[in-house]
Amino acid sequence: MLSIKNLHAGLENKEILRGIDLEIKAGEIHAIMGPNGSGKSTLSSVIAGNETYEVTQGEILFENESIMGFSPEERAHKGVFLSFQYPIEIPGVTVTNFIKTAINETRKSKGLEDMPAKDLLKLIREKAALLEIDRNFLSRSLNEGFSGGEKKRNEIFQMAMLEPKLAILDETDSGLDIDALKIVANGVNKLKNENNAVLVITHYQRLLDYIVPDFVHVLHNGKIVKSGGKELAFELEEKGYDWLK
């Protein structure tokens, strides 16, 4: 589904990613772990098409098609979703209205009509229940005054609504207490199937107790220095990152 080849990217002459290779197939869950500053968030941003970063070498294929020239919205329309570490507050636009706009823009890109309000409401109710989201929450302004946990849960709610093929969860565990973490992880697991894939980006092993990866990759200094199964995460938790340098 996602194939990254020799990816180099950075900010203004400062190279952050120094040759990433990564293969993710449908039905798989991958985790990328690494210390602060290793390039984890850069990698997720570059996959999602953030134009702040400059890609200097390499290529990203999504479903066998290069997406290098695609805008963030085009990548979203193709089925890439990025859950943000720090979601943005939008006063005056409710969660419901925001998700409606996002869904209808995606449908528009595929030449489809807007989703009928009845179907949309039904879908919202269904997904809100999945993530144990209160109805009042949906009529609040997007992320405005939300707690850290509410913001993350709202990210996963949007993911549930948009049903992406590839979901990238960037530090979704930060700011979550254990109960919220379980709800979020449970939601992700329920949405997971053989046709989609998840890339979890995290500093700690904690989240991986609940979203169990098929593959774990260690990112250090802009390169994947080690890959393995889920047991690698436990090893990192125990030994830290120093032994890999």
Partner: protein, 438 residues
């Protein structure tokens, strides 16, 4: 002949055509003397430094419209808030249009200045209030008074909640190539009474028009007045709006100014707090582009103890447009325990857009809370990326963030249908379909 000379000769002709033995005549003559003496403001005056009016004064304006122009309802209906029932005071090229208007004399007077000036039953009200809170240093207000003949006359006695909002619309049909309009409104709201008013100046064709409007608002004890100014005129229209508010004990007056369209917009808004426990709210939201200018000059004069003022002005400036915010707050020595807040936030979305923002606080009391804040920023790339990553195209993403930026001013609108209307204007202005049920 420059505009000032033209105004002098027009004034003489105008005064000859009206009765000269009235108080109004006296007031007009005095005001004109002031105008003659001081003329138009020059850029050298601090208050006009950032809003040069040279270009605005250049055209060869007619001082009174040449024709009594008729318009039909279908042509102008879209400018009404038709989702709700309202009183309407409609003027066309400065002349009252009774066919399109809905007035009342049933317990309250919602009618026009021309009848207030001439009918004996209004003489007391006019003598008591007309031109009583005009700042004599405002050149344009003096000029307006000199020619004051027509406008909205709203006189609400005590203990009345006016059942529906009042819409005041000044249309300009474009029959005169270059026209000056000088509408004059007087609003008197009695003790415990409540009224909502919307005011708009609208050109129907692209002719050069300069509107120099004056509104005086008197709010008595515990009166509540919500005033909305919708400024979304064509690129050929310029507006100088002078609004003066006098408040009595425990009254609450809010003036909300939305500036989107028009070539040149200058708002002079002055509040005078004459007693204790008064609240004054001043809100503004501007979205302009091209070579537009929108300037808000505000004054809140706290004269008595225990009063509040809340001021929130936001602006989005694109292309080569210019914004100006000048917020003056005076707290007299007697005005202890004053709470005065002022905030001005601007967003510059193009390199050639500019904003001049200036708080001006003159505080003579020692036990007060006064704060002011000013920010000038740009759209946050991270926020735009967030929206785009959810499939929302760049243009819509930017529009959504700009809408969100102004949202707290929109939240001040207490008439839901007006809020919807203004949201639609914003979507048009941002050139997107904000198809949100906002």
């Amino acid at each position: 002949m420059d505009l000032k000379e033209k105004l002098i000769s027009s004034f003489l002709a105008f005064e000859n055509s009206t009765a000269t033995d009235t108080n109004i005549h006296q007031i007009r003559s005095e005001s004109f003397q002031l105008f003659e003496q001081h003329g138009f403001p020059s850029k050298k005056e601090e208050d006009w430094k950032y809003t040069s009016i040279r270009e605005v004064l250049k055209p060869d304006y007619r001082i009174f419209s040449s024709t009594e122009s008729d318009i039909n309802l279908n042509e102008v209906k879209k400018y009404f808030i038709h989702e709700i029932d309202t009183y309407k005071l409609i003027f066309v090229n400065g002349i009252y249009n009774s066919l399109l208007s809905t007035t009342t004399h049933d317990g309250v007077d919602i009618c026009v200045m021309s009848s207030a000036f001439t009918k004996p039953k209004y003489k007391m009200v006019v003598d008591f209030y007309f031109n009583k809170i005009i700042n004599k240093n405002q050149h344009f207000a003096n000029l307006n008074t000199s020619f004051a003949t027509e406008g909205a006359f709203i006189n609400i006695p005590k203990n009345v909640v006016v059942s529906k909002p009042i819409e005041i619309i000044y249309f300009n049909t474009g029959t005169d190539a270059e026209l000056m309009l000088q509408p004059r409104n007087l609003v008197v709201v009695g003790e415990n009474s409540h009224v909502q008013i919307m005011e708009r100046h609208q050109s129907l064709k692209e002719n050069t028009v300069l509107t120099n409007a004056v509104t005086e608002i008197f709010a008595h004890k515990r009166a509540i007045v919500d005033f909305y100014k919708i400024q979304n005129d064509l690129d050929t229209a310029s507006l100088i709006d002078n609004t003066f508010v006098s408040q009595q004990k425990e009254s609450i007056v809010s003036v909300n100014t939305f500036s989107f369209g028009g070539k040149f917009i200058r708002n002079n808004l002055e509040f005078y707090q004459e007693d204790e426990r008064i609240t004054s709210n001043l809100n503004g939201f501007s979205i302009i582009g091209k070579e537009q200018l929108a300037a808000n000059y505000t004054l809140v004069h706290h004269k008595q103890p225990n009063c509040e003022s809340h001021e929130l002005y936001k602006g989005i400036y694109a292309d080569q447009s210019t914004g100006v915010f000048n917020g003056k707050i005076i707290v007299d020595r007697d005005a202890q325990k004053t709470n005065a807040f002022q905030q001005n936030n601007s967003m510059l979305i193009d390199d050639n857009a500019s904003i001049n923002s200036k708080p001006q606080l003159e505080i003579f009391a020692d036990d007060v809370r006064c704060s002011h804040g000013c920010t000038i920023g740009q759209l946050d790339d991270k926020a735009i990326f967030y929206l785009r990553s959810r499939g929302i195209p760049e243009k819509e993403a930017k529009a959504l963030m700009l809408y969100a930026f102004g949202n707290d001013v929109l939240e001040k609108i207490k008439i839901p249908e007006l809020k919807t209307r203004i949201t639609k204007i914003i979507a048009m202005k941002l050139k997107v379909d904000l198809s949100l049920e906002l």
